[in-house]
Each structure stands twice: as C-alpha cells, then as structure tokens.
C-alpha cells in the first residue's frame, strides 16, 4: 500500500538515480526500498524505461538536407538584393523617399517578425510544482531572438532594441 513515505521516496527517484542526493536522504530511500516492494518495482521499471528511451532509434537528416538549405538561403539573398535595388530607385525621388522608406521598414518588420512569437518552451507552468515562479514569461534567450536586425535607417527602433537586449542580457546574468 502506498503511504506518505512512498510518495516522498518516489519524488527522489531521479536524484537517487543521478546519485545527487544527500547521504541522509539517500539512506532514507535505501531503507524504504528495502522494505517496500511496490516502490522497488516502480524504481526498477523506471530504470527499464530510461534504458528504452536511450535506445530509441536515432533519426537524422537526409543526405540532401544541407544542399536544400543552402539553395533556400541563396534564393533569400537574391530576393534581398532585388529589394535593395527597388529601394534605391525610390531614394532618387526626394519626395517619395521618406514614404517609401517608411513603408519598406514597416514591411521589413512584418517580414522579419515571425520570430517574435518565440517564447520559452517551458512558459507553460505546471500547477503544484512548488517553486516561486518568475512573473515574466519572457525567456532571455527568446528575447535575444526577438532583437532582430532592423533597418538601419529606422534608428530609433534600432536603438530601443539594442537597449532592450542589453537589459535582457543583464537579467540573464543576474538570474543565473
């Protein structure tokens, strides 16, 4: 029959296996496993499970993966060259230059922006984990991903993002 000690011991299994428990808690787990066949079985099954997870067949990239990627990048680079030419033809016309630049910067932001939906994988918290969670769900890493290369003409936005990413970097350092 499962009792409170069973629950306590089962919470220690991962660290027991990692050999990272204090000697006191380790002894407590040992003692319990010696007398409780239920927990002994669970622990044995967990070990088997881990072996099976480690033995899962690895999958990998197809032979033409890198080649396909590089041709996508090449297409991307050609695209941006044409965009540059398109933009420079407008800059000759002073009256349209500001408007065109604005529209382009806006378009570029939207085009570049898909990554701003990046949020930490673990932002979904689990109830009852008993940890004091940070209120912010912004991952410092994800924020780094967010601070994308804005058009240099858009200097205000560019500077603001530089400052933001600086703050995020500080957070990352001070958190760890």
């Amino acid at each position: 029959m499962q009792n409170n000690e069973c629950i306590y011991v089962s919470e220690q299994f991962t660290e027991y296996q990692d050999n990272s428990l204090s000697s006191e808690i380790r002894a407590r787990v040992d003692t319990h496993l010696a007398v409780c066949s239920l927990c002994r079985n669970t622990y044995q099954e967990l070990n088997d499970l881990l072996n099976r997870l480690h033995d899962l067949p690895a999958v990998g990239a197809k032979a033409d993966f890198t080649e396909n990627l590089l041709s996508r990048i090449e297409a991307l680079n050609q695209e941006s060259t044409w965009q540059k030419i398109y933009r420079s033809s407008y800059t000759r016309v002073a009256g349209y230059a500001v408007a065109a630049g604005f529209v382009f910067a806006l378009g570029l932001n939207i085009w570049i922006d898909p990554i701003s939906s990046v949020s930490p994988i673990g932002s979904q918290r689990i109830a009852g984990e008993g940890q004091v969670q940070k209120t912010s769900t912004d991952s410092p890493l994800a924020s780094q991903v967010d601070s994308v290369e804005y058009s240099k003409s858009d200097s205000i936005t560019f500077q603001r993002n530089t400052i933001n990413s600086g703050t995020q970097s500080l957070q990352l350092v001070s958190d760890r």
Partner: protein, 191 residues
C-alpha cells in the same frame, strides 16, 4: 582533422557573424541530426521535422546577430527549434488534423544516422520504440518536452533550465514527475 573541427560552436557563430559562411555550414553539419531527432519526437513526422529544422537554420542565418555570447549556442538553437515545434503542434491542434490515426508512424521514413546500421536492427528498434513514442505523445506538453530534452536528447539539467527558462530545481522535479507519468501511461497502454 582539419582546423574547423576543433572550433567551439561559439567560435563558429562568431565567425559567421563576422561574415564567414563556411562557419554556418559547419554549424548546420553539427546540429542537423540532433535537431531533427529532437523535433521528430514532437511531430512524429520526418518530413515535417526536416522542414522545421530547415526553418530553424534559416532563422539562425537571418538573425545571426541576435545571438549573444552570454549564452551557449546549443541552448540558443534548441530554444528556436523547440519553440517552432511547439507552435507547429498548436497549429495542428487548431487545424484538428492531429488525429489519433497519426499515432501510428509506420508510414514515416526513418533515416538512420549511421548509414552502416543493420537494416533489420532498425526495423526491430523502431517497432519496439513505437509503444514508447505513443506514450510520449500522450503526455501533457511540459512533460513531453522535458522527457525529450532530458531522456532522449540527454541534455544537462543546466542547459534545460536555460532553454525552458525555469529554475534547475523545477527541471529536476519535472523530470521526476514526467518519468513517473510516462511509466504510468505505458502500463495503461499495455492493459
């Protein structure tokens, strides 16, 4: 051994930021298999996994300057790939194409990492792995993620803590709970 092999990932991304495209290709070679293996465990579909990892590298290419040296390159790229995988899962759920029938992944193509790997062995292993993949798929998302990162990708607690942006203590307790849950799901599937 040529010189590039000895470079760290962080050196390579720095060189790429400085304009060396070969450094990028080296990073692709280092990470493509790991990332496909990682993403495949979320999506259970090789074609989708390849597409998503291509997307990941395209983002790295386009936003190379978003990487800062304060983080490990590996945790940065895992964060990007993991987030893409997660949003793909959400999209699938919305489209409701993520039906129970896709639990079976017999139709999917396996590309063994080792080309010399015994073909019969692969078939046997993938069959044995099917049950466990089914069980992983049924886990709630945070448990699924942590099992993939820790027990399949075998990343350190520290790296996982950075990738998920949760404290190390939470990583450990979540690993423990996820394994117990997975075990429970497996025995339920067997009944």
């Amino acid at each position: 051994m040529n010189e590039i092999v000895r470079k760290t990932d962080e050196q390579l991304i720095a060189e790429f930021q400085g304009g060396d495209e070969l450094a990028f290709v080296e990073l692709v070679d280092r990470y493509k298999d790991r990332l496909i293996n990682f993403v495949y465990r979320f999506l259970n579909d090789m074609t989708d996994a390849e597409d998503l990892v291509q997307e990941t590298f395209l983002k790295v290419y386009k936003k190379k300057h978003a990487y800062r040296e304060i983080a490990k390159f590996s945790t940065w790229i895992y964060t990007i790939a993991g987030n893409l995988a997660r949003s793909e899962l959400r999209k699938r759920k919305r489209r409701k194409t993520y039906t129970m029938s896709s639990l079976s992944f017999e139709d999917n193509e396996f590309t063994p990492v080792d080309p010399d790997m015994d073909t019969e062995g692969v078939v046997f292993n993938s069959y044995a792995g099917e049950e466990i993949m089914k069980a992983i798929k049924q886990l709630p998302e945070p448990f699924k993620t942590i099992i993939i990162l820790r027990d399949i990708q075998e990343l350190s607690y520290e790296d996982i803590s950075t990738i998920l942006d949760i404290p190390m203590g939470t990583v450990k307790s979540r690993v423990n709970r996820a394994r117990l849950k997975l075990q429970e799901t497996l025995s339920y599937l067997r009944e």
